[in-house]
Amino acid sequence: MEGTAVAVCEILKYLIIHWKCETAGVSKGTLLEGQLVISIEALNSKHQTNTLHCVTTIASAGSIYGGLVLEKFLKEIQSTLPGFSAKLPWTSEEASSSQDISGVAPFQMTFEVHEKPRILMTNSLMIKDFLHKIVMVHPKIRFNFNVRVNGILSTELFGAKNEPTLNLSNGMALVVNYQHYVRAKSGTTEFFCSRIHPVLGPPVVLFIPDDVAGVDLLGELILTPAAALCPCPKVFSNQLNRISSVSIFLYGPSGLPLISPSREQPPTTVLKDTFCFIDWKKYHLCVVPNLDLNLDRDLVLPDVSYRVECSKEDQSQNMDPQGQTLLLFFFVDFHSGFQVQQMELWGVHTLLTTHLSTILMESHSVVQDSIEAAVDQALEQHHQAVKAHQKLQASLSVAVNSIMSIVTGSTSSSFRKSCFQALQAADTQEFGTKLHKSFHEIMQYRFLHHGSCEVKQQLLPEKNDAEQSTEDAHENSSLEFLAGTSRQVTNKRLKKGRLRHGVEDTRAFHSARAPSPSEAAPRPAEPTVTSLTPSRASPGSGLEDALWLQEVSNLSEWLSPDPGP
């Protein structure tokens, strides 16, 4: 990881851990909510050619940093970033004495560094990915990321406040909008269930090998894996879906990405190898590491990625080449009988970023069981969906062929004529094509769209107090809908100066093109979803999971032999 990116990420990690510890005593389990601003001001260096003098500012208003001891913070950050040459001066000493209307001092810190333009661009992309990863489990934190290069400003907002989520334990909620993980297939978006349906594996306690312990932990590390297919397996297309890739996301305590602080190590090496934990052969998946991870995209970047090689069977079955992605989330949390101290969490994070593979290997068997339990369930959904798709196609084919047989075999010209006229077909061939198309469209639309997971989720019963966060989201969404105005702009993504979701912006690194009206228009409000809090004792037992399992059950019923007409 490069200098500025490492510094920003480590500072943010420290601040969020601090924030988490501060709020844990008050309202354990609630989602962190607040806004942080990260700004990089880069100007051509007067002393070195082709170099930018970068001033990075991290700021926030409100109570995020209540109780933060600035000297201690500075000391610990500097100890974490030994090779980091920039200073971390407080530039708002005056500001600390002036309090905002809430009575809490705003926070602001600045550091400076000289970097090549290309390095700065890479750093910016890494920071963006880091921020994106955080909001995937802390949807109520908003990051405002500004980069101004020689006066040209690029602004991007990260947040997922109004997006559908699956509540996890310990104040985290996984955003389940599939568009964060894979690109939408062109032309079929309207049929999509826009969510992933993560299945949690049973939580397992991780043992720390003696030789890597280093710190005395007064608690235990617990891994909770989650698996989901993306897009939702209920999404049908003309082609069968195959699993084409595997993406693994690693999260440590406090829902922070496990990114190595080492400047030399690329960020994807915290977990080197998953072959020890998942028997890919069991799932008939031939996976090969995918090293071609492109930071410059608007998807959240996996920590580990695999490409699934296409089998001969897949090729022969006209499988969709784009396929589905198996998403795996490893949430490693730290639990203690006492209130966890900030430095303890900081130490656990450091431990995990350097020794995750070793720690997982120590509990190899239970880790594998837990991960595979989640994957088994996720793939069961996939297999059910594939079977349902095949059955639908078979029924469609039988219906169409039977009608064609009657129409083409009829000696009644008036009957044939009326059929052709109804579908506006000139001849038998065109009639057959239109018949198949009509059937396919209607059937797919009816019970793939209307039977989608989202429709059912809108019919959820009232939520309980524990789901307050979602109620808020729902309420916001409803109000926005009623007002008919633009919603709170979240997760506005700017890529290569391309304006999305109507955010005011200028370009920084790349030449910008003027946004088209359609691109500039705010998106309609996302359907808001009830989040769920699966119990640790019974993973995947939330209401959303129940609905999803109901879907799978329906599929099973649909796949089971007919009891007879």
């Binding site: 078979a394 029924s395 039988v398 219906a399 009657i406 009829s410 059929c419 209607i442 007879g564 007409p565």
Partner: protein, 433 residues
């Protein structure tokens, strides 16, 4: 009849003759034959037009961007049934319907299979050829899954198009056997002579048989083919001559190793594809319903001769159910009740009251299962039971005793008690209800 063996003296049948006279009187009093209802044989062009209408409706729905559905009268609800003593169970004229939707995961396959069978019927009618439900199943057994799916769809299509099964050019495989004083000519000219010692398979084309001749005093429907066979072995038909006995082997358990097991049974293997060895290891479990051709034959014999018809069934809810289907029809075939039911049928045995009357040992009895009790309760609630107080009484005896008995229970009294004592006495003294 010249071939008729010598039976008992004429006076033996006094009660039977008297019963027949009362039946004929009732017929005359009721305006001769009941008015015809239900589906009538349809011409080929009518069947083709009906199928074309179904297809046209589907295509019109598609053109309107609506998911097509096939509408069928709902024959699963008692609310759609009416009971007439002279006909049996019939569908009400404005019954509720059920839709087989194309846009429902649960019904899309059924929707497709109905279209598949419609297309097959369309071709059969066009080419004036016939097939059996079993043949249809074997055209794509993987697609249909099992035979009952085909059976059910064929019945649905018959109801939907309002034409009898035969007009669809689908024959049901005959599972019935007949013996006794009867001869007739089949549609293709084959002369069939039933005898008192050998059984003949019931024709698959009952509508086509003609020139029926019999001197039978009565017709006995036997629930089980094993009992039927035992009666033949005991020369029951000869000793009770002239009579006709019939059975429907679907209601018994039969193991067949080729056609030879039943002596000159007409081999119906011709209805099965050569490649399917179904006939050679056929095991038809009990708990079936009377097969269509046997019902049609019984109905035809009644319509032509008006001879008294008696049933010999197990004294259990299933036996009563079979008898009720012969007499009053079933819900699933209620749309064709006029062509199938024979309300003149009487219950000869085995009556639950016979168990006590004959001191059948308790060892020969079987406790009613929960399923039996549920079945019995359901029969007792049916509309036709109200006009059969003696039947109700027998069923209440069964319910009170919580026991059932098979016909074979009579063998505990004597091995030939059934054919030599029980049935002759019942016939002689009018022991039917």
């Amino acid at each position: 009849m010249a071939f008729a063996p010598v039976g008992p003296e004429a006076s033996f049948f006094a009660a039977v003759d008297q019963h027949r006279a009362s039946l004929l009187a009732a017929l005359r009093g009721g305006g001769a034959e009941r008015a015809g209802g239900g589906p009538r044989p349809a011409s080929s062009s009518q069947v083709l037009a009906s199928i074309e209408n179904v297809i046209r409706d589907i295509i019109t729905s598609l053109a309107r961007n609506e998911a097509p559905a096939i509408t069928i009268d709902d024959r699963s609800s008692w609310e759609n049934m009416k009971f007439e003593d002279s006909v049996g169970l019939q569908m009400v004229s404005h019954c509720t319907t059920r839709k087989i939707k194309s846009d429902s995961p649960k019904s899309v396959k059924n929707f497709a299979l109905i279209l598949k069978i419609l297309s097959m019927i369309y071709k059969l009618v066009q080419s004036n050829t016939y097939t059996t439900k079993r043949d249809i199943y074997y055209t794509d057994s993987q697609l249909f899954g099992n035979q009952t799916v085909v059976d059910s769809i064929v019945t649905d299509v018959s109801c939907m198009l309002k034409v009898p099964r035969r007009s669809l050019h689908i024959l049901s495989t005959s599972k019935g056997l007949i013996a006794g004083n009867l001869r007739y000519i089949e549609e293709d000219g084959t002369k069939v002579y039933c005898s008192c010692t050998t059984a003949v398979a019931v024709s698959s084309n009952i509508q086509g048989i003609w020139n029926l001749i019999t001197d039978a005093k009565f017709l006995l429907i036997v629930e089980k083919d094993a009992t039927f066979q035992r009666l033949l072995d005991d020369n029951f038909c000869s000793r009770m001559s002239p009579c006709v006995i019939v059975t429907d082997w679907e209601n018994g358990v039969r193991f067949m190793n080729g056609c030879g097991l039943f002596r000159p049974v007409v081999c119906i293997v011709q209805f099965f594809p050569q490649s399917v060895p179904v006939f050679y290891h056929l095991k038809l479990k009990g708990k079936g319903v009377p097969d269509l051709n046997t019902r049609l034959l019984v109905k035809k014999l009644w319509d032509v001769f008006h001879v008294p018809i008696f049933t010999l069934v197990d004294a259990d809810p299933h036996g009563i159910e079979i008898m009720c289907i012969y007499k009053y029809g079933s819900m699933s075939m209620s749309f064709e009740a006029h062509n199938l039911t024979v309300p003149a049928i009487r219950w000869l045995g085995l009556l639950p009251s016979d168990i006590k009357r004959l001191n059948i040992p308790k060892d020969a009895l079987i406790p009613l299962t929960k399923r039996d009790q549920m079945k019995l309760d359901s029969i007792l609630k049916r509309p036709y039971v109200t006009c059969q107080p003696f039947w109700r009484r027998e069923m209440e005896i069964m319910a009170d005793s919580k026991m059932k008995a098979e016909i074979q229970a009579l063998t505990f009294l004597s091995s030939d008690y059934l054919s030599r004592v029980y049935l002759p006495n019942k016939l002689k003294f009018g022991g039917w209800i």
